[in-house]
């Protein structure tokens, strides 16, 4: 039956299969389609619009495994009205899903290269699918290096997973925090300080950055100092999103719409925009 509602603006109903508290303000939802619908295949870096009944909708990156998209996994931080309501969902609760939308990390393009992932804070969530995908095709890549910076040790996301990745012989994981009590045995200092020491071949590297804009600008600068061409650096952007399909205008940044041209951009395409204020 033809309805007057517009197709891509209508959510699919999903059920919360599992809620995992990650840190004091972040959580992971595992979702299953509520009525047996297909889960759309997604590419690492894409996002869904998640709807909480009566509260509204918010764009959340997909942080599951693209090679095995079931269940649908989203990690997010409770910072706004919708995400705070989302944080209260329990197993069996329902949620609306639209997507996946947006551009993807250049995982294929990176084949043959060393891959350097630089994540800041919740920015690790949109990069996790890249790790899954590369580990599933590990032989196609050179080194796999994750540089992860966050606020304090208690803000570290996916802690167990980080430990298991670190114990692998085919992946290097460096974690640093901005501040800490002396109980933390790990590294203290901003994530940019990890870049000069990481062992990758700058000429044969694809770097993917996700975090706050200031962090991404400084990370790109450090990568440039190491000799990584800016055309090999990719960054994921964040702006207000209402429709997710390029029609509402909210996520416009200069000449691009982040929901349809992004969120993942080659850094040299957005470098100048990132340097403009209030763009």
């Amino acid at each position: 039956m033809k309805t007057t509602v517009a197709g891509p603006m209508v959510p699919t109903m999903a059920r919360v299969n599992r809620v995992r508290k990650e840190t004091h303000d972040t959580f992971t939802l595992e979702l299953h389609p509520a009525y047996g619908q297909e889960i759309h295949h997604f590419a690492a870096g894409q996002f869904n619009m998640l709807y909480v009944f009566g509260f509204g909708e918010v764009a959340i990156s997909i942080s599951g495994d693209p090679t095995n998209p079931k269940p649908l996994i989203h990690t997010t931080r409770a910072v706004g009205n919708v995400t705070k309501a989302m944080a209260k969902l329990k197993t069996g609760d329902m949620i609306g899903v639209r997507g996946p939308f947006g551009s993807a990390w250049p995982v294929k393009h990176a084949e043959g290269d060393d891959v350097v992932l630089v994540a800041g804070g919740i920015g690790l969530a949109p990069l996790r699918p890249v790790i899954y995908e590369i580990l599933a095709n590990r032989r196609k890549y050179g080194k796999l290096i994750l540089l992860y910076g966050t606020r304090t040790p208690s803000d570290i996301l996916y802690r167990k997973e980080l430990e298991s990745w670190r114990s692998r012989l085919d992946m290097e994981v460096y974690v640093t925090v901005d501040r800490s009590s002396v109980n933390w045995q790990g590294n203290v200092g901003v994530v940019t300080t990890l870049i000069p020491k990481a062992g990758f071949d700058p000429q044969q590297t694809t770097a993917m950055i996700c975090g706050p804009e200031i962090m991404m600008r400084y990370v790109a600068l450090e990568l440039q100092k190491r000799g990584v061409p800016m055309s090999s650096v990719f960054a994921s952007m964040e702006r207000n999103m209402k429709c997710g399909i390029g029609l509402c205008g909210h996520c416009q940044m200069g000449p691009t719409f982040i929901c349809k041209d992004g969120p993942v951009y080659p850094y040299d395409k957005i470098r100048e925009l990132l340097l403009k204020r209030e763009i």
């Binding site: 303000d25 931080r77 910072v79 800041g120 804070g121 919740i122 910076g149 966050t150 606020r151 803000d155 640093t176 901005d178 501040r179 800490s180 009590s181 002396v182 933390w184 045995q185 790990g186 590294n187 203290v188 200092g189 901003v190 940019t192 300080t193 020491k197 975090g211 706050p212 200031i214 962090m215 400084y218």
Partner: protein, 153 residues
């Protein structure tokens, strides 16, 4: 006896210095080792040495009665530790603690200052390299101060 020259010459901080400058530095150097948990520097104490870290991990810490001790920065293999030896009154501003077995080359501060005064070209080279380290630390400290990942950002 084997000299420290080749070890020094390979360290990122020293790499590229003129051999005669490295020679001058070797004259002020000794090999040191710190066990995990051992303090290398203590705030307020005389800054007599400059450390070139060969491997291990050293955390810079500062303490207050209320907040106990906080870690403000981590130094690792390839880094250098300590600037207070450069400036009067030559007193350490932070505590530094080895987090694991750490090996370093310690350069006697008085000796090194003397050599820099005598040979300004060595002094200038070292000042440039230290300025670079300080620039990085300052940029890092600024970003830390911005508290980029806080939920109110």
């Amino acid at each position: 006896m084997e000299t420290l020259e080749p070890i020094l010459a390979e360290h990122p901080f020293i790499k590229g210095l003129k051999p005669e400058h490295i020679q001058l530095m070797v004259g002020c150097s000794r090999n040191v080792k710190f066990e995990a948990g051992e303090f290398i520097l203590r705030e307020g104490y005389e800054a007599n040495e400059f450390y070139i870290i060969r491997h291990g991990q050293v955390n810079l810490e500062i303490h207050s009665p209320k907040r106990h001790a906080v870690t403000i920065h981590t130094c690792r293999e390839g880094d250098v530790l300590g600037w207070s030896w450069l400036f009067p009154p030559y007193l350490w501003h932070f505590d530094a603690r080895a987090m694991e077995l750490t090996r370093a080359i310690a350069l006697d501060a008085k000796c090194l200052r003397g050599k820099c005064e005598k040979d300004p070209s060595l002094g200038y080279e070292l000042a440039k390299r230290l300025a670079h380290v300080i620039e990085h630390r300052l940029q890092g400290a600024t970003l830390q101060l911005l508290d980029l990942y806080s939920s109110t950002d």
